[in-house]
């Protein structure tokens, strides 16, 4: 287990390096630069700016400079907000984004697995069709449609919940979390239903029932663990999706997370900001996938003992 962990950590290093390399090259290939504006900047000013940020150096020199600073934990200055470094921006925004993703993930897990299990217990009956139809709708509705819908119903017509901000008014975290988590809840529901149906047809479930165990005990003690394997393997990429998907939701609900900065940075060609955010998210995504893989290993005693 430890060996697999170390192995995976080591293999993350070249992945991160490639992410840095490709992003670095791609954003420089995109037309325009960080100092282009609607109003043309005088050539002299532009030259000074380029000099100030070493943008006049050959690209490989720029790249190695950047990597050198990166290894010291320095993401560099933001080109668009000269008063703040990229690290500062990230520090300010990341707690909000992480919190939003976490709540959304919990929404997905709780609603997804519960409805999947409920549906699997009576397949092809109303108990199955209702949650699964809801899940189908959940998968089809993107968050930029679901968000405004929820705002319209719960925020404006029913006036139950606030529709913007984060941690300002009580209950303002509910709608964003649901908006972000709903799609994943739907996926998880379908996966856990499938996993449960397969597990429930296994011989060892028959054994458990032949032992005279109650239905609940059979489900929770015997079936659920086997059924969760596909759920866990999806959960890693799902967290990654939640992190990057949070941008849309942050924009809808005006939440001061990282998402807005990421989007703005892309429009502004704020090279260092884009790079910093990309590296951060790549890192988080690798971690999430690693955790999911380790959890899968731990869930399966056959793989756990293997050295």
């Amino acid at each position: 287990m430890l060996r697999i962990f170390l192995q995976r950590c080591l293999s993350a290093i070249p992945v991160l390096f490639l992410v840095v390399l490709f992003t670095f090259i791609l954003i420089r290939l995109a037309p325009g630069g960080p100092f282009d504006d609607e109003r043309a900047v005088p050539p002299q000013v532009l030259e000074n700016l380029n000099k100030r940020y070493h943008l006049d150096d050959p690209i490989h020199v720029q790249f190695f400079d950047y990597v050198k600073h990166l290894l010291q934990g320095d993401f560099g200055p933001s080109f668009k907000y000269p008063s703040r470094t990229v690290t500062e921006v990230i520090y300010a925004g990341i707690p909000v984004t992480l919190e939003l993703s976490l709540y959304a993930f919990l929404v997905a897990l709780v609603f997804g697995i519960t409805s999947g299990v409920i549906a699997s217990l009576k397949p092809n009956t109303l108990q199955d069709y209702v949650p699964m139809s809801a899940a189908m709708i959940g998968i089809c509705l993107p968050s930029f449609v679901l968000g405004p819908l929820l705002i319209l119903v719960f925020g404006i017509q029913l006036d139950w919940l606030p529709v913007s901000g984060w941690g300002v008014t009580p209950g303002d975290k509910i709608l964003p979390s649901i908006t972000l988590g709903a799609g994943y809840a739907a996926y998880l529901a379908r996966l856990s239903r499938g996993g449960m149906l397969e597990t429930l047809s296994q011989d060892y479930i028959r054994t458990a029932r032949a032992k005279g165990l109650s239905g609940w005990r059979v489900v929770f003690h015997h079936a659920l663990r086997g059924a969760l394997a596909p759920v866990v393997s999806f959960a890693g990429p799902a967290v990654a999706g939640l992190l990057s998907g949070s941008f849309v939701v942050e924009t809808i609900y005006q939440i001061p997370g990282l998402g807005r900065f990421y989007l703005q940075a892309a429009f502004n060609r704020d090279y260092t900001m884009i790079l910093g955010m990309t590296i951060l998210f790549a890192f988080l995504i690798i971690i999430c996938n690693l955790l999911a893989d380790l959890l899968l290993l731990w869930l399966n005693p056959k793989l756990r003992g293997r050295k």
Binding site: D203, Y204, T207, A210, K211, G212, S214, L299, P301
Partner: protein, 540 residues
């Protein structure tokens, strides 16, 4: 008074394709402390009948439609789910066919054993643990304290079945239902498990319902026998009556189908002594890699270890051994489906191990394989005609204009109706599918056939027909055959000579009758002793 009395039990499955009556008006009874055997071929409803009583049939689509099952003064079929749960695992224990899949792979065997005690008896964890360890000891698990926290995959098949038995009996039930408990096990392990069940049965004065397709095993175990066919009980009686003076034609057919004798006729053509297939010092290894980067280590498992064998033209050599003995790997190594590591395979003087890929493809025409599971080895999307015509065309055995007549000839050879040639494999029964597989192997007019457990997946009456067919065809086409099987009686029935394989090595080889009447190697003796034939003394 009977412990369990089942009357007029009818179970139907309501599927989309219609209603299937799996159990049709079945009645039987079992006395306290006795063993009731239920025999029948696959699909005869013997398992479904028992699952119906226990409320374990998948529902929907299954439904118990009529009947009663009186057990200790209660009708099991009218009990509420809660009442039935108190009987399951407490008054009636069950063990199943496949110990590999019947234990929960995610839960330690200790927890699985304690669960019944804690649920039914409300025992404390400490007491349950003590009782569970004692139960493991009773079924012959060594070091039960240490094994208590092991997971099922850390046990062998036989050990797992022991754990299953311990689990079924841990609450000291009055009745044990054993559904094909030894079918998935090797013969020597099977003998041990049967002895264990017998011992526990007499020690605890247990009643046992023993479900099996294997007449020999049932005769060995049961006092009373019920024979089922197509959901109906066709004959009941004492084991002696049923097996030695069967009344119903179906029971007679079952008993007659058992290959109990030696080869019914020997080849009539001239056998020349010149070896046709010579295997010299053949060795096949599987390597597995452990670790990564600088800590890499290779482990070699010798599946076939220095095997030397000779087959004469027209001879059938039976290759016997238990699972994992390397007999299938040997068959595959001869065909170079697995690359052997060293040694020679000479087919009619040509060394197959040295052939380059193109020559090997041409040479493969001369040797064909028949597999255990005909359904898995036939392409489900090809009609039988396509499956048979393909090798004929690839190897240019007949010109395209004569394909139809060649295929028809093959269908005749294996005893299939010519009109079935446009059907797909799933439209055939198991026995018919094996006939198709045989026809496919014969299509290229091979000289050598390697048959890997060709009848193991078939019911005994079908098995007898397929064996007969194989014997006829080897005669007709002067085929040489390597017949691989774990079933000694089957090998005895078809083989001229027999080789016994254990852990990759041939431990004994000789004329079939000599091996069966006077085995020399201890392993061969152990194998032969483990087989249960229909013997009067057994059933008494």
């Amino acid at each position: 008074m009977a412990l369990l009395c089942v009357e007029n039990l009818t179970t139907r499955f309501h599927t989309r394709d219609g209603i299937i009556t799996a159990v049709d008006n079945v009645s039987f009874a079992i006395e306290p402390g006795k063993v009731l055997g239920i025999v029948g071929e696959s699909g005869s409803g013997k398992s479904v009948a028992c699952y119906s009583i226990m409320g374990l049939i998948p529902s929907p689509p299954g439904r118990v439609e009529q009947g009663s099952a009186e057990f200790m003064g209660q009708d099991l079929l009218t009990l509420s789910p809660g009442q039935l749960r108190r009987i399951r695992g407490q008054k009636i224990g069950m063990i199943f066919q496949d110990p590999m899949t019947s234990l929960n792979p995610f839960v330690t065997i200790g927890d699985q054993l304690m669960e019944s005690l804690r649920v039914h008896k409300g025992m404390s964890k400490k007491d349950a643990r003590k009782r569970a360890i004692a139960a493991l000891e009773e079924v012959g698990i060594r070091e039960p304290e240490r094994r208590f926290n092991s997971y099922p995959h850390e046990f062998s098949g036989g050990m797992r079945q022991r754990v299953m038995i311990a689990m079924a009996l841990i609450n000291e039930p009055d009745l044990l239902i054993a559904d094909e408990p030894t079918t998935a096990l090797d013969v020597t392990v099977q003998a041990q498990i049967l002895d264990l069940i017998k011992r526990l049965q007499s020690e605890h004065n247990l009643s046992v319902i023993f479900i099996s397709h294997d007449l020999g095993v049932v005769a060995h175990m049961a006092d009373h026998v019920v024979v089922m066919q197509k959901g109906k009980v066709v004959e009941t009686g004492s084991a002696d009556q049923v097996f030695f003076s069967p009344q119903h034609p179906y029971t007679q057919k079952l008993v007659e189908s058992l290959p109990t004798t030696a080869k019914p006729y020997s080849p009539q053509f001239q056998k020349d002594d010149k070896p046709f297939l010579r295997i010299k010092n053949l060795r096949t290894e599987f390597s597995r890699q452990h670790g990564f980067l600088f800590w890499k280590k290779w482990f070699h498992v010798r599946a076939v270890d220095d095997v030397t064998l000779t087959l004469r033209k027209g001879e059938i050599l039976g290759l016997v051994g238990e699972s994992g003995s390397g007999k299938s790997t040997l068959g595959r190594s001869i065909m170079r489906l697995v690359e052997p590591r060293s040694g020679e395979v000479l087919l009619d003087g040509v060394n197959l191990t040295e052939l380059e890929p193109k020559r090997l493809r041409q040479a493969r025409r001369d040797f064909q394989m028949i597999f255990q599971d005909p359904y898995a080895s036939l392409n489900p999307r090809m009609t039988v005609f396509d499956a048979l015509a393909e090798p004929l065309l690839i190897h240019r055995i007949v010109p395209p204009s004569q394909i139809l007549s060649a295929v028809n000839q093959l269908m005749d050879d294996v005893g299939l109706d010519r009109r079935m040639v446009r059907k797909y494999p799933h439209e055939f029964s198991g026995g018919q599918r094996q006939r198709v597989a045989i026809a496919r192997a014969l299509a290229v007019r091979p000289q050598l056939i390697i048959a890997d457990e060709p009848v193991s997946a078939l019911d005994v009456t079908i098995q007898a027909q397929i064996l007969e067919l194989l014997l006829q065809l080897t005669q007709k086409y002067q085929l040489t055959m390597l017949f691989i099987s774990h079933d000694l009686s089957v090998v005895r029935y078809v083989a001229d000579r027999v080789a016994v394989m254990q852990q990759g090595k041939i431990v004994e080889e000789g004329e079939a009758e000599a091996i069966f009447s006077n085995p020399q190697h201890p392993y061969t003796r152990a194998l032969l002793n483990a087989v249960h034939h229909l013997k009067k003394t057994d059933a008494a």
